[in-house]
Symmetry: C2
Subunit: 254 residues, 2 copies
Amino acid sequence: MHAQLAVKTIQDALRPAPPTCGQCPAYDLNLCRAASEAVWASPNGTPLKIQQAEHSAPARRTICREQDLHDTVPIICNGWAASIIMLSDGSRQILSFLLPGDIVSTALLFEPRPHCLLEAITDVRYRTFRRTELREILFSNPELLDRLSRSWIEEKARDDQLIVDLGRRTADERIARLILGLVERLTKREMVHGDPLEFEFPLRQHHIADATGLTPVHVSKVLSEFRRSGLIKISERSLTILDPIGFRRIANMR
Amino acid sequence: MHAQLAVKTIQDALRPAPPTCGQCPAYDLNLCRAASEAVWASPNGTPLKIQQAEHSAPARRTICREQDLHDTVPIICNGWAASIIMLSDGSRQILSFLLPGDIVSTALLFEPRPHCLLEAITDVRYRTFRRTELREILFSNPELLDRLSRSWIEEKARDDQLIVDLGRRTADERIARLILGLVERLTKREMVHGDPLEFEFPLRQHHIADATGLTPVHVSKVLSEFRRSGLIKISERSLTILDPIGFRRIANMR
DNA sequence: CGGTGTCTTGAATACCATCAAGTCTTGTGG
DNA sequence: CCACAAGACTTGATGGTATTCAAGACACCG
């Protein structure tokens, strides 16, 4: 596999100015914003700004590999990404989809090795912070520590839910729950439009398959069935939930 | 369901003295030990010992429920427990088995609600620390913070592995990997005897089923097949791995 | 224009669940 | 101590869900 890294800071500088953090849909819940705004006391007493760098990766590009060592922690600014574990026979399991404002994994604050592949789904902009600095800042400020602990808890809760979904639910339930989980997270970021619920949906069916432990073929069949039942509509990389009540019923069959 | 809580500190006092922490098989990797030994500065400057209480629960008893609120964090001293998510149709998913020295979940340092059921598998002794105190201590001492971060990372890594196992592996692989994962953790605690590998194995087949997303019936069939192939032996609540190489091959089929 | 990636559909198959019956063990109360 | 009930495990028969295999339609891109 042709896994060229996508650190192209120089080219970025030549492109039209990227949106500022204030336009980030995750502005209010963003660790990145908090860290950027934070000022900390350096060892010699001078207040310092945290160092950061902005990067981008085109859709489908690998952002970092499982065995790479990094002294920086990435946070997604824009676009969708996925953290993925690959098996030797080529099958893949997506651990989580990363949306704007998400820290890739809170565990990265403590260890340099991500243990999973990070892949861009859409074009992605992301920011990296030096691990030691970021950790220092987050732990030295009670309000930031609180914010960190919430994202830690949320990360853990989503892992637990995924375990239950993969262990104990049918294909229909898994897929419906995946979509509703995304709706919830997108809603917090104000990336979902009103009634009926509609939002940008860049996932390919193979992404859904890799996230739900199914095959792309079966995902296709389930989604077709959802459409035939009038539950959802998918077109132009956009998803509409036509029957929220019926759809939630599928997701909560047990 | 008859889920009486098992906090019987008074009765405990009447029983023969429990083994000391020094005899805990997880002594060296134990957060509990570190916390117990730690001394911290109180608001008025006096050094304080952390408060803790010791409890016990008999096998099969619920230790705490998903909706309970606790201002304490439990750490297992002795015996096996499981954290479990229950679905409304009665099916269960075990998120993790808890062994001596394990903190139930690092997320409990930040939130009072466990989100999952905690159940004793064998008779269990456990210790509870006040959340605010424990957090304070762990975060104020760099060596303890390091220890905490390691157990956080390990917890995350095990969650990720479970997700992959449930999403992408067959029944044979899941069961073999569950057992080998336990061997690894028990070995660190010096709870595995030499060659051939043998150890106390208190899990019922329904525990294995709940942990691997299978049915007890199918677990029985797979284990029988493992025995017939001469890979393992189970008797008297004790498990022996007769053919480590063959068994690991099953666990790493992809 | 061929190539690649994406999605769909049908047929055959594998894996695991469900159902059912029976053995054996463990615990409990009379 | 025995009788009985409940839990744990096994085994076989049957069925359903999801996989695998295969072929074709369609869009997009260099």
